[in-house]
Structures are given as structure tokens and as C-alpha cells.
């Protein structure tokens, strides 16, 4: 009978880490595909209301954002303010801002520009209506009221 060599003693097998970079790269690619580079820092707190009749704009490059809400930093007060791109602005600055943003689009697409209003849900309508009036004067008529999704209310009808 052959001599059986005693099985060499080995501790618990170490898990091979050869594929770790692959896993990490896969995660990286997922994030690269699913996210958008944050274009501007949010300086105002915006908790969006919920709504059920939502549309998604396909061509994201046509959207420009207006954030309205109380400032993140308490030193600036608690009244809602308007944030256009990176800076706080007043209602009066909106028409110029629209004109400037419009120039960043190609001629043919300028009339298709969307303004997405991200407004905190506790804001009073006074400031929002002021913004809308200025947008109308600047002929930026396509407006999107940003909201998070919820189910439709039930109907008895």
C-alpha cells in the first residue's frame, strides 16, 4: 500500500483578493453612469413637495435651475432667498440671468429652454409669484415645478 503523505496542515484558506479591483471598478462605472456631476453647491435648503403628475425632461442640457428656500447658513437669516447658479439674487436680477443663460444654448434651442423651480415647500407664494412674473417678462415661459414623486390621490369619481 502506498504511503499517504499526511495532508500538509494549512490554516483557513485566505480569500483571494485578486478580483477586488474589478469589483471596485464596476462600482465606479455604475456611479459614473447613474449620477451627474454636481454643478452648483446648494446654498438654500430645498425640501420639495410631493406630486403625482410628474414629467421628466429628457434633454437635461436645456434645464436651468432656480432654487428658492431659506439659506443653509443661518448667518444669512431665515427668510427664503433665491439662488441663481452660485449666488444669492433678488427678484430683479432674474431677467438678466435668463438672458445670460439663454446665450449658453444654441440658437435653435433657445426657445426650448426650461427653468426648473426648486422651491422649498414652506416658502410663501409671494416670492415665487414674483419670480414667475419676472420669468414671464423675460419670455422664459417653460417652467417645471420640481417635486418628488407620490401616488395619485384616490378618487370617488
Amino acid at each position: 500500500m502506498g504511503k499517504f503523505k499526511k495532508g500538509t496542515k494549512r490554516g483557513m484558506g485566505a480569500i483571494s483578493t485578486a478580483s477586488l479591483p474589478d469589483i471596485v471598478f464596476m462600482l465606479l462605472f455604475f456611479f459614473m453612469v447613474a449620477t451627474v456631476l454636481r454643478t452648483e453647491e446648494e446654498k438654500v435648503r430645498v425640501i420639495r413637495p410631493e406630486a403625482s403628475e410628474l414629467y421628466k425632461i429628457e434633454k437635461k442640457h436645456l434645464i436651468r435651475y432656480v432654487n428658492i428656500g431659506p439659506p443653509m447658513d443661518n448667518r444669512y437669516g431665515t427668510e427664503p432667498v433665491i439662488q441663481l447658479n452660485d449666488a444669492f439674487s433678488g427678484v430683479a436680477a432674474i431677467q438678466d440671468w435668463v438672458a445670460k443663460e439663454r446665450l449658453t444654448l444654441a440658437e435653435a434651442e433657445q426657445s426650448k429652454m426650461w427653468v426648473s423651480l426648486k422651491v422649498d415647500k414652506d416658502t410663501k407664494m409671494g416670492i415665487v409669484t414674483g419670480v414667475k412674473q419676472e420669468l414671464r417678462k423675460a419670455s422664459a415661459l417653460k417652467v417645471l415645478y420640481s417635486a418628488s414623486s407620490r401616488e395619485r390621490t384616490g378618487s370617488e369619481n
Binding site: P49, D120, M125, V128
Partner: protein, 261 residues
């Protein structure tokens, strides 16, 4: 190798957000010119009034209402056929559930339905009207010809709708609309909820009609058309549903202070 990958991953996580660009689409009206000529008053029964005050309370057609009931009231307004018959305004068969209609006695003592009176759009009348316009086009100037052409196109759209529905339908009078008025101190949340419920009423009615006649919801038709913009059949179906349920949600200029009640 893994270290490099981790570094890149952490960089990416820190600098990006999963953004969402969803919201309620609206087309703002062009600004009102300063020297506007007085608009003739619209018949009260043709306007569905929604007012919101600084306490976020709703006043719908003169009655206080909870936001959860707004959609049903708006649907009643949009479906009403005005003759006390709450049949669906398309064809003779009832599509959808039957709804109660309310009658009001006006100041002149006449009793009317509290809702707009829809008008029959009949194939025979349309063809007669088109023939008349074509006749008038013959001896008209270039500008007038273009105007007649537009009118005829609009009538042809209605004819196509009749074809697609398989029968005559009833349309809302041109002045019928839903009007919302809010106060400067109304909260944005309730404003958006009202807009959402009104939009929801229109969308649900459109879905109901579209499902009954074309087997797809209105939203599915729109999405299909987005993917395939050459499909004229889809476009005419979408246009037909819009003819029966136009989306006319307008806003009045807001009031200073809150002087409702």
C-alpha cells in the same frame, strides 16, 4: 491597483449627486400688456374657481373644500354635459362612472346645471362648415386664404377625432376654464398640491377616454409618440383626446394681503 480604484470611487462619490429632473410642467402665459382692453366677463358657470387663502384653506366654487376632494369636483366640471345627463361626452355609450350633477337657480330664476354646457360636434355640421370655408376661400386675398386654411385644418382635426371615436362628441365651450387664485402668503406646498390635483383630474379623464377608445392610457400614447415622432396616427389620437379634455388651468394675478374672509 485596488487602492487607485478606491480613490477614484471616493472622488466620484463625493462630487456627484443622483439628480432627478421631474416636476409638473407648466407653460406660463405671456406677460399682460399694460394697456389691456377690458376682456368681456365670462359666464360664471364656465369657470371653475379655486381660491387658496393665507391659511392654506381652499374655496372651490364658493364652497370650502378639503384638498382630497378637489380632484373629484374638477372632474365633475370637466365631464359635465350640461343637459343633466352625466354620460361621457363621447358617443352615446357611457364611458366611465356616472356622476351626480348639481343644478343651481340663477338670479334670473332659470335653473341651469352649475357646469358649462358642452356643445355637440357633429360630422355633418363639420363637413358643411368646411365646404363653406372652402367656398369663401375662392374669392379671398392671400392673408384671408391662410386664415381660412387654418380654420379648415382645425375642423379637419375635429373630423379625425370623430372618425377615431366612432361617433360625434361634445366639446367644452371655448371660454370654459379652471382658474386658480392664491394669496401671497399661501404656502408653496398647498399651491403645488392644488396644481397637481387639477392636472390629475385632467390626466385621469384623458386616461379613461383613451383606454376606452384606444386601449392605452393617454400617458402611454404620449410616450409612444415621443419615441416615434413620425407616427401621425398616434398624433391624431393624442389630439383627439385633447379636443375632448383640453387642459385649461390658468392663474389669476395674486392678491395683496389676504382679504377673503
Amino acid at each position: 491597483m485596488a487602492d487607485i480604484a478606491f480613490l477614484l470611487l471616493i472622488f466620484w462619490l463625493v462630487t456627484t449627486t443622483i439628480d432627478s429632473d421631474e416636476g409638473i410642467k407648466r407653460q406660463l402665459p405671456p406677460p399682460v400688456p399694460e394697456d389691456l382692453v377690458d376682456v368681456p366677463p365670462v359666464k360664471e358657470q364656465n369657470v371653475f374657481n379655486v381660491k387658496v387663502n393665507f391659511l392654506d384653506q381652499l374655496l372651490v366654487e364658493g364652497e370650502m373644500l378639503d384638498i382630497g376632494q378637489l380632484k373629484d369636483q374638477a372632474k365633475n366640471f370637466l365631464v359635465a354635459t350640461g343637459d343633466g345627463v352625466m354620460a361621457h361626452p363621447v358617443g352615446r355609450n357611457t364611458v366611465g362612472k356616472s356622476r351626480e350633477v348639481e343644478f343651481i337657480t340663477g338670479a334670473n330664476g332659470k335653473t341651469n346645471a352649475a357646469f358649462p354646457e358642452r356643445v355637440w360636434v357633429r360630422r355633418s355640421e363639420l363637413t358643411a362648415q368646411i365646404a363653406q370655408y372652402e367656398g369663401m376661400m375662392a374669392g379671398a386675398s392671400e392673408v384671408q386664404k391662410r386664415n381660412y386654411q387654418k380654420l379648415i385644418e382645425h375642423l379637419n382635426e375635429k373630423l379625425t377625432a370623430i372618425e377615431l371615436f366612432g361617433g360625434d362628441y361634445k366639446e367644452l365651450p371655448g371660454s370654459a376654464l379652471i382658474s386658480m387664485q392664491n394669496d401671497n402668503n399661501t404656502s408653496y406646498d398647498i399651491y403645488l398640491q392644488v396644481q397637481n390635483e387639477l392636472q390629475s383630474a385632467v390626466n385621469e379623464l384623458r386616461d379613461e377616454l383613451s383606454l376606452a377608445k384606444f386601449g392605452k392610457t393617454y400617458r402611454e400614447l404620449e410616450d409612444a409618440y415621443d419615441r416615434d415622432s413620425e407616427n401621425m396616427e398616434l398624433l391624431s389620437k393624442i389630439a383627439a383626446v385633447r379636443l375632448v379634455y383640453p387642459q385649461r388651468i390658468s392663474e389669476a394675478e395674486p392678491r395683496e394681503g389676504s382679504a377673503y374672509y
